[in-house]
Amino acid sequence: MRVNFTVNGRPQQADDVWEGESLLYVLRERLGLPGSKNACEQGECGSCTVRLDGVPVCSCLVAAGQAEGSEIVTVEGLAEYARQRACGTGGCDTSAECGTSGDEARRWSAHGTDSATGEGTELAPIQQAFIDAGAVQCGFCTPGLLVAADEMLERNPNPTDADIREALSGNLCRCTGYEKIMDAVRLAAARQGEGA
């Protein structure tokens, strides 16, 4: 069957989708967006977390056909999503308007950026915070954690540690022991607070 939806702001169409196929499979194997990771396939690990019409879900448990007509944000589109959100709330750093800044214009090149794959775009604040706090080790759980953490900070700009633990309780990391991840989310929250 054919499935139409919007992924990272861009209309997409997937053909020959098997009826039992997951949204995760369509994203990775049919649309070439391997950022969302495939691990447990039973909703245990959270590494496939995406936003489905704004709501964080395990894309391995969404049948592709259920995503028809919906808006998906994957980790590849997270930076652009965060940028637009910041503009929407007046948190734009370069100018009051959200056009192309002089800096951005000078950096433009023919291959450009890709909002769908995230190539060449600047990082979202949560992504930068993960790097700065050393919250990435093998990196496999990172995309799911980024999507989940970003959504929590959107909802709850001043999270307590308990809030962070709760929001990330569906995302397993087997490397870090979570401490650096906690640091990263606190850092992103603090920076978000300063910027506002």
């Binding site: 069957m1 098997w18 009826e19 039992g20 997951s22 396939e41 039973q42 909703g43 245990e44 959270g46 977390t49 709501v55 964080p56 879900v57 395990c58 391995c60 448990l61 969404v62 049948a63 056909g65 259920q66 028809e68 989940a148 709760e166 929001a167 309780s169 569906g170 995302n171 397993l172």
Partner: protein, 296 residues
């Protein structure tokens, strides 16, 4: 496999009547796991996510009509006052991602003894609104679970909503697992005080082939509370009554040994949870705000 996407409840019923083997899917948190693991290859998937009224709830005089697909997240956020036991149970479901998708209709459809909603529904008192093209009926929750992962639905029926009695007293839910999130219950216990009828109801999860009530324990406790006039006096429940209640709850179990725990442990843990939830709810009924830490 065919993917059926009814746009309305009537279309969904028609599709289920035409294809009784069709597997309903809403949150997908049970069905997709089975498909991903190749444990199930249904001929038809019946997607219910476009049927909007399954995602709504109405609060009436005495009960809440909860649409089958209302996600656990919504229950936690919006129905804590009316359905405290179910809201607590909802909070223990898996993770935020799962709670954003899964709902009580799925728990009932799967009818696993480990479903987190069941003990709360049994304790509160509920009826399942099932419908087919032949008509609609209400199945009392006590008659709904008919075997391991079996329920009272006919092949052409779908779950439209659950009618849950609004809390008329304190309710509690307790669950044993190895960590707080992402846990299938080793066993679980729900308890609701009903001061209106001067009764106590229970629900036990993961400790018998189906979710069950500990009816002998309820009868004993109802009689003891009545005899000592505790509903009126608001005095404490004596330790011996609590102990006897806990033992009867343990005795109601018919658990198995499996990877999550032994039958013996489950019986023991259900007794502990029964005593604790009774103390928590009773102290709350007495209007005593002091915590019951250490009391159990």
């Amino acid at each position: 496999m065919d993917f059926l996407r009814p746009a309305s409840w009537e279309e969904a019923l028609a599709a289920k009547a035409e294809h009784p083997t069709a597997v309903p899917i809403a949150g997908g948190t049970d069905v997709m796991v089975e498909i991903n693991f190749d444990h199930r290859r249904p001929e038809y998937l019946l997607d219910l996510t476009r049927v909007g009224d399954l995602y709504e709830w109405e609060t009436g005089e005495d009960s809440v009509r909860l649409g089958a697909s209302v996600p656990y997240t919504r229950i936690m956020e919006n129905l804590r006052t009316e359905l405290p036991g179910l809201a607590l149970a909802s909070h223990t479901v898996a993770s935020p991602q799962i709670r954003n998708r899964g709902g009580v209709g799925g728990n009932l459809g799967t009818a696993s003894p480990a479903g987190d909603a069941h003990p709360a529904l049994l304790a509160a008192g509920a009826e399942v609104e099932a419908e087919s093209v032949r008509g609609s009926r209400r199945i009392p929750i006590d008659a709904f679970y008919t075997g391991v992962k079996r329920n009272a639905l006919a092949p052409d029926e779908l779950i439209r909503a659950v009618h849950i009695d609004k809390a008329d007293g304190p309710q509690q839910f307790s669950k044993v697992g190895t960590r707080n999130a992402m846990v299938i219950a080793v066993c679980a216990f729900g308890l609701a005080l009903h001061p209106g009828t001067r009764t106590v109801r229970t629900g036990i999860g993961s400790a018998a082939p189906t979710p069950i009530r500990a009816t002998a324990a309820e009868e004993f406790l109802n009689a003891a509370l009545d005899e000592e006039r505790l509903w009126d006096s608001g005095r404490s429940i004596t330790p011996s009554v609590a102990r006897q209640f806990a033992q009867l709850c343990s005795a109601a179990c018919n658990p198995v040994d499996d990877v999550r725990g032994t039958a013996r442990y489950r019986r023991h843990a259900v007794g502990v949870m029964a005593r604790r939830t009774l103390m928590w709810t009773w102290e709350s009924y007495r209007g005593n705000a002091r915590t019951m830490e250490g009391a159990a």
